[in-house]
Assembly symmetry: C2
Homo-oligomer: 245 residues x 2
């Protein structure tokens, strides 16, 4: 295992940050490393909004369901999927933009995630810590108004960045055999493997939360998949010109 | 710039691979490094299908629009967004799965992209090369049948992996100022910056393709955004239980 793979395997989300600011040239370096990730058909559909203003940060804490580290992290970035820039290209070339295709939505969303993950690796290689904030999708309309997001742009996730002020245990992961299938999709052995994994996750939570609460992986996932999830997302996205066809 | 950031910035897609196979323990290592990426709400919604069978590979070449490296790469992986496993968790917990939420689709798609990008960095740190194959979405129904993908699973992209047998120039990227906005979304200066970038991209293509064909970035992006894009994706995804609400 080389140093890079060791670094990748040491990822954990950080939610408590020290006061130390990040030098502007380091932030630029991280984002440039992010841009180097693959981009579908060279579309470069990511836009990152750097939010420093404390009032805006505070609103974003609120919109993301009270995650205070959105305010306290040295940097807070909003990673947006951006097809509006492609629209500018269409204007420059006197071409009518074809909007609303699900395929374009996927392309832009994947572009953003690939870029952000590169930023993550670059940040962690410098001793920084990060946390993805999917919670921004609690109130994407509020975020859009706050950050002036135009049509064809949506906030995929927020992103806290700073020097860690906590030590966090590695979270377990599913056995590779569950995630990696040979030749075809099949679920042979998965339920047994998940039952075994449930015990590992239960121990992890016991250690982390100090007994009392018993939580397994399948229980947590069933809790998520068994209830409605941000039902405003589809109407919101359609209002922004996405996912119409 | 440290070695990790140097590695990130040296990414290029590889489409010509040597014959050298990848040792199974290395492949496992790459995928385990992939699993270490962040996962939304701990859902672990990625499934990777490793395709070795030459006939299956050949079909996938066809489905992805004739990209021959899908057959010739040492390894070909299909990265799937998988909410079917969450359904198994619901069954194990006697909970009814709530299907079709756009939010769950985003969570699973982002999960896959974060994992894949980790695999990419791990692979490149070992001198391997990769290429994302969005072209699998040309025929997602064919891919689904070929690989027995059940409801609640879709192929986000394919993935070629192997030892590079070509030297590829770095592709340019947009000036950071276009991609990184301060405090709020705005497009001030973007069109001028894109006009400048167009010249850089034009030179890149001239060098790569040896004159004759003149292609700028805005022209290429307008070509993509100005025409319909895989209009089958929405009905296909809905047929798999995604994006219904």
């Amino acid at each position: 295992m080389n140093e890079v793979i060791k670094l990748l395997k040491s990822h954990r989300s950080i939610r408590k940050f020290g006061d130390q600011p990040i030098a502007p040239e380091i932030l630029d370096e991280l984002l440039t490393a992010g841009q180097a990730a693959a981009t579908s058909s060279f579309i470069e559909a990511s836009t990152v909004i750097r939010v420093c203003n404390p009032e805006t940060r505070q609103k974003l804490v609120e919109y993301s369901g009270g995650q205070h580290y959105v305010a306290s992290a040295a940097e807070f970035l909003v990673f947006c999927a951006d097809l509006s820039r492609a629209g500018m290209c269409c204007d420059m070339q006197n071409v009518e933009q074809e909007k609303g295709f699900t395929e374009h939505f996927i392309i832009a969303t994947v572009d953003v995630a690939l870029m952000a993950q590169n930023v993550t690796i670059a940040a962690e290689s410098l001793g920084l810590g990060i946390c993805y904030i999917g919670g921004l999708r609690n109130n994407p309309q509020g975020v859009s108004e706050l950050l002036d997001l135009p049509d064809q742009v949506y906030p995929v996730f927020g992103y806290c960045l700073g020097y860690p002020d906590q030590d966090v245990d590695l979270r377990p992961r599913l056995p590779l055999a569950v995630v990696l299938k040979q030749e075809r999709y099949n679920t042979k052995g998965d339920q047994d493997a998940i039952t075994g994994y449930d015990k590992i996750v239960e121990q992890y939570y016991e250690k982390r939360l100090g007994g009392g609460k018993s939580m397994t992986w399948s229980k947590q996932v069933a809790g998520l998949a068994g209830k409605e999830a941000r039902p405003h997302m589809l109407p919101y996205l359609q209002s922004k010109g996405f996912l119409k066809r």
